[in-house]
Amino acid sequence: MSKRIDVKDLNVYYGDFRAVEGVNISVAPRSVTAFIGPSGCGKSTFLRTLNRMHEVLPGARVEGQVLLDGDDLYGPGVDPVAVRSHVGMVFQRPNPFPTMSIRDNVLAGVKLNSKRLSKSDADELLESSLRGANLWNEVKDRLDKPGSGLSGGQQQRLCIARAIAVKPDVILMDEPCSALDPISTLAVEDLINELKENYTVVIVTHNMQQAARVSDKTAFFNIAGTGKPGKLIEYADTSVIFNNPSEKATEDYVSGRFG
């Protein structure tokens, strides 16, 4: 299930603009890695290159290699759609499909790809995904109600359930708690800790306490100035980044002296 990610000399461009420059990073399987850094430093852009979601925007392209257990995501002949079924993603704002019930939302990844699914298999997948997202007990009596009727935190966990229902190897989270209240945030953070058992989790966050709480390793991204590309400044164990960083910029950022 869980796979490792190795990124080699990755540059990301939007048209002629270089958004991210020269990233080298290795993410171990069954771990949580946090990306921190000021707004606009390219951490979300970089995260989206890990499942080729940035290609949805016109003009976006990549140089370098992203290896998923040794397989290059950007190799010739690689289908981005297949990549995305191995590397799932959870977005900043909860975005359940408004036309679908809770059940259909969870099964969306399977059903929309028109894979045949027997009733018992579907029920099993539904329950295991919702249990995996700590949502089963809250919604098991209203699986046929629309997903948009849930609270923000429940919707976000529904989106996580939807992501793990397609059985990915890696789950990317782009500021998954920034639209949630503290209690829902806690629920999602607990969930991230459990997801670590089975998946490689990469999370972008603006909340440094959150990075300290949930992640094993932390990567700090920074930008030299407007119009300059974002760079990976430092990547180490979370305790090292927050207590004893080797770079001055990292120390300034985590201690709140700038940004």
Binding site: P58, P98, R162, V166
Partner: protein, 368 residues
């Protein structure tokens, strides 16, 4: 200044206010003065209404200015203008509906109005109906059938073409030259006079099938030329407002683009698309000129839109008014024409109602 100077219920913060009955008093004054003003050149209800409205605005605003001050008076003036504009816009609509109801109901209530055609109905019958007071015979069955068939065919042609075009524009176009060209030509098509659309269809079938091809299908093609730009425009707007987050959520699950469009984007926008289509139908159902040059007009029931001339409600009204069945006694023809007009208005109203119901039925559910 002491507080005893201030009347009960008033303070330094209160300003003068018009009493609640002020509009009604102003209205009464305006009606009396208006009647007096138009009595001089000669009384007409229309002139009375106009004069009263103007006098009402003057009295009401001046009174407000004296009591409440300039800002409130300006507010009252703006209210008068807005309400006045609304009434002016409403007047023709009410007038049309009233006229058609009054003139159309006798025709509608005639036995056999919906179940018979004009086949075999000649001036002799109409003369007898007028002279001997018998019932007016003949009905709109053939025309109603024709209108429904032609409009249905036009919808069947326009919806796939229009919807697919808008999908291309929103999902694949991305401001490419082709997308910009399509947008431009769709805008041009919106402005095509309906008779030109009719002549296009007539000329097209003249070249392809043969001279004098006039069938319901040709009329449907002419109507779809008018309908397609409306469908494209409305569905384009609806697809645009589907949040990009939903597309991304679907892509992130490893769903292909075409399935995302089919299973996520269109279901989310379907209520708007459906009501847009219904309004497009309402827009073309009353077209006369393009049907006249493409389907001709018939007095008999024609069940096939692919062979022979076909009647429709607008052309039925047109021919009944312009060429009454009995030139010496046009009253029965008038009655049938008004009845058909009423049916047409009812159809359009029903379509608008259907559009609302459809929009509601398909709208994404939000309940818990």
């Amino acid at each position: 200044m002491t507080t005893t100077d201030v009347a009960p219920g008033r303070s330094k913060l209160t300003r003068g206010r018009l009493p609640g009955f002020a509009p009604w008093v102003s209205l009464a004054v305006a009606l009396v003065l208006g009647a007096a003003a138009v009595a001089v050149p000669g009384f007409t209800p229309f002139g009375w209404g106009i004069a009263s409205a103007i006098i009402f605005a003057i009295v009401y605003v001046a009174w407000s200015r004296a009591v409440e001050g300039g800002r409130k008076a300006a507010d009252k003036l703006a209210t008068c203008l807005v309400v006045g504009a609304f009434l002016v816009a409403l007047l023709p609509l009410v007038s049309v509906i009233w006229t058609v109801l009054v003139a159309g109901i006798p025709g509608l209530l005639t036995p056999g109005f919906f179940t018979t055609s004009m086949n075999g109905v000649t001036g002799v019958f109409d003369n007898r109906a007028v002279e001997e007071g018998g019932p007016v015979i003949g009905g709109i069955y053939h025309a109603l059938l024709g209108t429904l068939m032609i409009t249905l065919l036009a919808t069947l042609i326009s919806v796939p073409v229009g919807l697919l075009t808008s999908i291309y524009l929103v999902e694949y176009g991305q401001d490419k030259p082709l997308a910009r060209a399509i947008t431009f030509f769709v805008d041009v098509m919106t402005g095509i006079p309906s008779i030109v659309a009719g002549l296009f269809a007539a000329a097209f079938f003249f070249l392809v099938v043969g001279p004098g091809t006039k069938t319901g299908f040709v009329a449907a093609v002419a109507l779809s030329v008018l309908m397609i730009p409306v469908v494209v425009r409305s569905s384009e707007e609806m697809l645009k407002i589907v949040p990009n987050e939903l597309r991304e959520a679907s892509y992130a699950l490893g769903v292909r683009k075409w399935r995302t469009i089919l299973k996520v984007v269109i279901p989310t926008a379907i209520s708007g698309i459906a009501s847009g289509v219904t309004l497009a139908i309402a827009r073309v159902i009353g077209e006369t000129a393009p049907i006249l040059v493409t389907a001709g007009f018939a007095t008999t029931i024609n069940n096939s839109p692919f062979a022979g001339w076909m009647a429709s409600l607008p052309t039925f009204i047109y021919t009944q008014i312009l060429n009454p069945t009995s030139p010496s006694n046009p009253a029965p023809s008038d009655q049938r024409a008004w009845g058909a007009a009423l049916v047409l208005i009812i159809l359009v109203m029903l379509l608008n109602l259907v559009a609302r119901i459809v929009a509601k039925a398909f709208a994404p559910k939000t309940g818990r």
